[in-house]
């Protein structure tokens, strides 16, 4: 297994139990998603996998073994917000990981420039983030994650803030990039359609405290295009994911009332 979570749990200092006992596995080159209702600890789970949050219990395994000192710096991480730095251009934002890895400025620039067309950013290398559209900003953030060179990526709702059409286009584009590079990707999302369309396997999480409620293998053929989302097989998988999530959402509402 490339990346695995073994019994991960997180209870925060205030006593809030965000994640309770989550185990999941990603084989090399797999695209796996985690879906769940909002507030189910998805981002906390990703934070633990990226090494930013210390788990209360359980461990993160890379290539089948726990890493001394935790997975920090070993897993490529992309948070929900693009977190582009306004004082840096597209190119300087995208190469920050290379800069931190000690790659020279000229070499970093060259590598980023070579990737710009594939990320739909050609000609925008010297723009500031404020001059980019939401979709472009997100692609710069993805390029930053890709250029850092980790072979395992953890993406936290990368398209959550985009409009529906851009989001669809970005999904198809991300699949293209993934199929070319075959990195191991764990994607967190609350969007069932996104999870089914992109993934080999989908983990469904319960409401807080988050735990794995069910697992769904997505055996739709690849390469996939957006047209696939209209097929009966796709609709059926989507329904199978939605049913438990709807229950969770109702339960959450009931708990609030």
């Amino acid at each position: 297994m490339k990346l695995a979570a073994a019994g991960l749990a997180k209870r925060f200092a205030g006593g809030v139990e965000a994640v309770a006992d989550v185990s999941l596995e990603l084989a090399e080159g797999e695209f796996v998603s985690v879906v769940g209702p909002s507030g189910c600890g998805k981002s906390t789970l990703l934070g633990m996998l990226a090494g930013l949050i210390e788990p209360s219990a359980g461990e993160v395994l890379l290539d089948g073994a726990a890493v001394a000192g935790g997975p920090l710096g070993r897993v490529g991480y992309m948070p929900q917000r693009d977190l582009l730095m306004e004082w840096r251009t597209t190119l300087a934002n995208a190469t920050v990981g290379l800069e931190l890895a000690g790659v020279g400025r000229a070499a970093a620039r060259e590598r980023a420039l070579a990737e710009l067309p594939r990320f739909g950013l050609a000609g925008f290398e010297d723009r500031r983030p404020s001059a980019l559209s939401g979709g472009m900003r997100q692609r710069v953030a993805l390029l930053r994650t890709f250029l850092a060179g980790r072979d395992v990526l953890a993406l936290d709702e990368p398209f959550g803030a985009l409009d529906a059409l851009t989001r669809e286009a970005m999904r198809e584009w991300l699949l293209g990039v993934w199929e070319a590079d075959r990195k191991t990707i764990l994607l967190v999302t609350h969007d069932v359609e996104e999870a089914v369309f992109l993934s080999d396997r989908v983990y469904v999480m319960s409401g807080r405290p988050g735990r794995v409620q069910s697992v769904l293998e997505v055996s739709l053929p690849r390469p996939r295009t957006l047209e696939l989302t209209g097929s009966p097989a796709f609709a059926e998988l989507k329904q199978r994911l939605l049913a438990p999530l709807r229950e969770e959402a109702r339960a959450a509402l009931g708990a609030c009332a």
Binding site: A50, G51, L52, G73, G76, P79, L83, V96, G97, S130
Partner: protein, 277 residues
């Protein structure tokens, strides 16, 4: 985070959260300069009219025309005194920038440093300058040193507090992201915290520019033989009120010029701040 120091800075006129300026590129220079100019001319005209109609004595309230005459008449003295005062202001201001930004970096380097130093930073502003100034003169003499100390003392605080806020205001998620990319504390400081703090630093610098003039004049009052503050005392003793006003005009001009200069430097150093909508 609303700390006592931050609230104090706010009360003193410091902006805690700098906001991106609205795009001013579309508007021409005339559209920007005209409104305040019209108000200024109207106020001066009112003043002139009041003096002419009320017949108030020149020694109590000179007319703008009298002040203008005094400006021309005293130009030699004013220029040399302004040179003295300006050098006190600029040097004291420079010391304040180094001390203020340096202290801010120390304070925000760790929780312990913050807890240990921040209260003293605020405490330093509770010492009334009128009490402290004569003592500083006693220690250092009548040369430029007490002026620099007092100017630096009144200006370093807004710079330090704003810089601390700027360093603190760095998005913790950005810090987390950089850590996943392999950044250590120093690299986070260089890549994220310092650039993020720059607009805040300039906010502090602008407030400090106004304080610097005040500090220099006060320092000269306590013990000096030259400078604009001294001129104010001398003219005041002679009831040469128009000349006192002339000195005030020069002081105001220095303050405004410093304020504007900070703005110009800010536009060069922090261009992204202007570009944002």
């Amino acid at each position: 985070m609303s700390t006592p120091g931050a609230r104090l800075a706010l009360a003193l006129g410091g902006r805690l959260e700098p906001r991106p300026r609205a795009g001013q590129r579309g508007r021409g220079l005339i559209a920007q300069v005209a409104p305040p100019l019209v108000v200024g001319v109207a106020l001066v005209a009112l003043w002139q009219g009041y003096v002419a109609l009320s017949g108030v004595h020149q020694g109590i309230l000179p007319s703008p025309v009298e002040v203008a005459r005094a400006l021309v008449r005293d130009r030699g003295l004013l220029a040399s005194a302004a040179g003295t005062t300006l050098s006190e202001i600029l040097l004291g201001y420079a010391i304040a920038i180094v001390v203020g930004v340096g202290l801010a970096m120390v304070v925000s380097s760790s929780r312990l440093a913050e807890r240990a130093i921040y209260p003293w930073l605020v405490g330093s502003q509770m010492i009334p300058i009128p009490v402290l100034a004569p003592v500083v003169v006693l220690w250092t003499g009548f040369d430029i040193r007490p002026k620099l100390i007092i100017v630096a003392l009144v200006t370093f605080f807004p710079i330090a507090v704003n810089t601390i806020d700027g360093l603190r205001a760095t998005d913790p998620e950005l810090v987390g992201l950089l850590r996943t990319l392999g950044a250590g504390r120093r690299q986070v400081l260089r890549i994220a915290r310092l650039p993020n703090a720059l607009p805040y630093v300039f906010s502090g610098l602008r407030v400090a520019a106004a304080f610097a003039v005040l500090g220099a004049v006060f320092a000269e009052w306590v013990g000096s033989t030259n400078g604009l503050g001294v001129l104010i005392l001398d003219y005041g003793n002679e009831t040469a009120t128009a000349d006192v006003f002339a000195v005030v005009v020069v002081l105001a001009a220095i303050g405004i010029a410093m304020f504007a200069a900070v703005g110009v430097v800010e536009r060069v150093v922090v261009p992204w701040w202007r570009v944002q909508d």
